[in-house]
Amino acid sequence: MSTAVGDAAPHQRTFKVWRGDKTGGKMVDYTAEITPGMVVLDAIHQIQATQASDLACRWNCKAGKCGSCSAEINGKPRLMCLTRMEALPEGDVTVQPMKAFPNIRDLVTDVSWNYTVNKKITKFTPANPGTRFVAEDGTFRMQQRDVERTQEMRKCIECFLCQDTCHVIRDHEKHEVFSGPRFFARAASLEMHPVDVADREPFLKNEGGIGFCNITKCCTEVCPEHITITDNAIIPLKERIADRYYDPVTMLWRWVTGADKKDG
């Protein structure tokens, strides 16, 4: 828990900011004046306005709602707008771009891969009227408890910090065969929607590469929206896939009955 913001006197701090592009770069020192309650993004803006007008960074909401300002602060993937100076240890502050994505310039990285992956996920596909959660007029009838799981996954602000931190992407560069925690959460939000009838399990197993995940929970730890990606999305999805593809009894049952995964 953070502490209340007092009226402490302004003071100076040194920021080591990565500057460069895809061909390479280096850490450059800047000094910023720190006022009470200031966040790292404020310092970057101050540096931009006074010392390096072309310092590239992304931001929009300044309140942890848009997921634009992702970076690695003192080596940890975080949102710059939610990282308060008071919360960082004494000494220099390093600010670097996300490492798992190609650099464009300074703190800005090329996250287009994520948008490509998103397109591969089958969109929301509602059940017919007159089924369990859908009234005859087509409007949905779902209780709050029916939607809580999917709502948790839908809190995602697409900051891609979880993608940045996941070793399968970061260290093993399995971009081609692994969709990453963000998209497991997205797939889960759809799979857990009471009304949805599409089947995303083959995708998750094959192109999505959910098998590569070895449940380190690093993604959950960095998620600024506190989504329990591993426990509430990845593990249940893995279980479903295991049941469906590897459990001989289920396989036989499916073969005999032609049962689909949901009962409409």
């Binding site: 309650g37 966040v39 931009q48 306005a49 310092l55 848009c66 929301f124 709502q151």
Partner: protein, 605 residues
């Protein structure tokens, strides 16, 4: 130098709720659509909307219906609204919200499993469909995920349009640059929709992001379109005031909707002291009744904290000026008090207002379940904008449409909370539909190469051949400070005249800004270009504000504190003259039809 060229039937500038909804509609009509945005897809302002989307679904109170919503919107807008838009909006919003649910949006639920609705300022019944306090995120993500599967839509991210291109009277394309590489791009289109949002960055204290530099207004103005009622800028009553770095960040009205109250430093609920006449019979007599209202008692009237935003903002301003404010120049907004009434209040608040809880915890180090927040007014929304036809959203320039916050008319002098998200969907859809229809009737126009070349040279000169060495950030900050002080929440003729003089000086400085010679993702360079838009909209809104010699809705004039009959009957229209100068004229508000007038009279009872 090479310019990339793309051709589409319909070009949508802006990928917030309005732009995406328009793109979906135009694509479904069989058009090829280009969708352009300055940030990454899904990061537009719409993502920040918190409290909810207004639609008279009647799920919580079945007395609600389009007529009540219509009358509420007109009353909130103080009757200078475009009534046709208010009518269409009230009628179509429920269908648009249900459609979102069909596309996968997961709203909070009522006990019988329907979409839950909450109370909001100026809405007679609980009307805002919501998802906790992250409704905008739900809407933008739903639209995004729905549109990415449409092959007719090509998305151009981090691409900024700086000029519309015309062939004779008609708009036939747009020119801009990619932020990433600084390369230039030309879009040829048969019709163009402006969905670029507002202009909050013209002010110092704002809930708006860097994107809100009024680009759409200025693009349209330069292309010959009319701007309507630019003086009506909404100052939201509750922005954060402490710590300094978060000043202006929004605190959703949902806090008050859930029972939060405003107090001054003496602990007094000052909102009870000043209830406007036309809302008196809809306002609670005492705190007890107000509380019952927030808890869904249908016989109770709303607490005065839920009066319209313009009024609440002024009351807060008054308390602060009278020395009754909080330590950091705001007033107290207290939701923690409900522990006297609600069992397990802490969990209740965290559940109802999760992102407010986190926002204060993480940015202010304050626990809203135990401690009152400090809040004050923040520049929030632009009611004015591109003047459009209510049915089709087309401006007076053939082929040029506008929707969402960039368009104008629906909200009149003051927007009700929740009426923007519904505006985006209702008129985004309409703009998409009519832009597609228009595009199908046209061929691609002729593009003047010389004009394109001139636009490109203009963009490059800030780096290659600057006319001075002004810092663009500094000029922007000086403009923001000046506008906040002279054309802010309380306005006076002499101050606004000074503002116009200052704008002239700032224009001269803006010509002399320069950026380091680096084309790739150079925010300094981008800020140089944004400045000209900010200055155009600042001038337009100041001129309108001077001309409207009355206080109405969001415009409060210290020198004309009352509403006037004369001005209550007119809209302010800005247009670029043939001489290139900004011209302002008044036009009478289109009178209501008898049928709609009868609805308003009926609802006022």
């Amino acid at each position: 130098m090479e310019i990339q060229t793309f051709e589409h039937d319909v070009l949508v500038i802006g990928a917030g709720g309005a732009g995406m909804r328009a793109a979906i509609e135009a694509a479904d009509a069989g058009c090829s659509v280009g969708l352009v945005c300055k940030s990454l897809l899904g990061k537009a302002h719409t993502v920040m909307a918190e409290g909810g989307i207004a639609a008279s679904l009647g799920n919580v109170d079945d007395r609600d219906g389009w007529k009540v919503h219509f009358a509420d919107t007109m009353r909130g807008g103080q009757y200078v609204n475009n009534w046709r838009m208010a009518e269409l909006h009230a009628k179509e919003a429920p269908t648009r919200v249900r459609e979102l649910e069909q596309w996968g949006a997961v709203f909070d639920r009522t006990k019988d499993g329907k979409i839950l609705q909450r109370n909001f300022g100026g809405h007679r019944y609980p009307r805002l469909a919501h998802v906790g306090d992250r409704t905008g995120l739900e809407i933008i993500r739903t639209l995004q995920d729905h549109s990415v599967h449409k092959s007719q839509i090509a998305v151009y991210m981090e691409c900024c349009i700086t000029k519309l291109i015309k062939d004779g009277e008609r708009v036939v394309g747009a020119f801009g640059y990619y932020r990433e590489k600084g390369r230039f791009v030309l879009f040829k289109a048969k019709s163009v929709i402006i969905a670029t949002g507002g202009l909050g960055r013209a002010f110092e204290v704002t809930s708006n992001s860097w994107e809100y530099t009024g680009d759409g207004y200025s693009l349209a103005y330069n292309a010959g379109a009319e701007l309507l009622d630019m003086e009506f800028i909404q100052f939201h009553p509750t922005g954060m005031v402490w710590p300094p770095s978060v000043r202006g960040i929004l605190v959703t009205e949902g806090v008050r909707g859930e029972g939060g109250v405003l107090r001054n430093k003496d602990g007094k609920r000052f909102m009870f002291d000043d209830i406007p006449e036309n809302y008196r019979n809809q306002t609670a007599k005492d705190p007890e009744e107000g509380w019952r209202y927030t808890q869904g008692d249908k016989t109770a009237m709303r607490p005065p904290e839920l009066l319209t935003r313009d009024h609440v903002a002024r009351c807060i301003n008054r308390e602060v000026k009278a020395g009754r404010g909080s330590p950091h120049g705001g007033v107290f907004l207290d939701i923690a008090w409900i522990k006297e009434r609600v069992p397990n209040a802490r969990e209740h608040i965290k559940k109802k207002l999760p992102s407010m809880y986190h926002q204060f915890m993480e940015l202010g180090g304050l626990d809203i379940t135990t401690t009152a927040m400090e809040v004050g007014p923040t520049t929030h929304y632009t009611m004015g904008g591109v003047r459009v036809d209510g049915d089709t959203q087309m401006s007076c320039v053939p082929g040029l449409f506008a929707a969402g916050e960039a368009g104008a008319g629906l909200h009149g002098a003051n927007r009700l909370g929740g009426n923007s998200l519904s505006d985006l969907l209702v008129f985004g859809k309409r703009a998409g539909e009519h832009a597609a229809k228009y595009a199908k009737e046209q061929k691609h126009g002729w593009i003047d190469e010389a004009e394109v070349k001139a636009s490109m040279e203009w963009a490059l000169h800030f780096m290659d051949a600057p006319k001075g060495d002004e810092n663009p950030y500094k000029v922007q900050q000086d403009l923001q400070k000046m506008m906040q002080a002279q054309v802010g929440i309380v306005r006076k003729e002499d101050e606004m005249r000074t503002a116009l003089e200052e704008i002239t000086k700032l224009k001269a400085r803006a010509v002399a800004v320069q950026a380091p010679a680096n084309r790739e993702y150079n925010p300094g360079w981008h800020t140089c270009m944004d400045l000209s838009n900010l200055l155009i909209v600042s001038e337009a809104l100041t001129k309108c504000a001077i001309e409207r010699k009355e206080s109405r809705g969001a415009q409060f004039r210290e020198d004309y504190q009352e509403k006037s009959k004369e001005f209550g009957n007119c809209n302010m229209i800005i247009k670029k003259g043939i001489d290139g100068q900004m011209q302002l004229r008044r036009e009478p508000v289109t009178p209501l039809t008898d049928e709609l007038k009868a609805i308003i009279d009926e609802q006022a009872k």
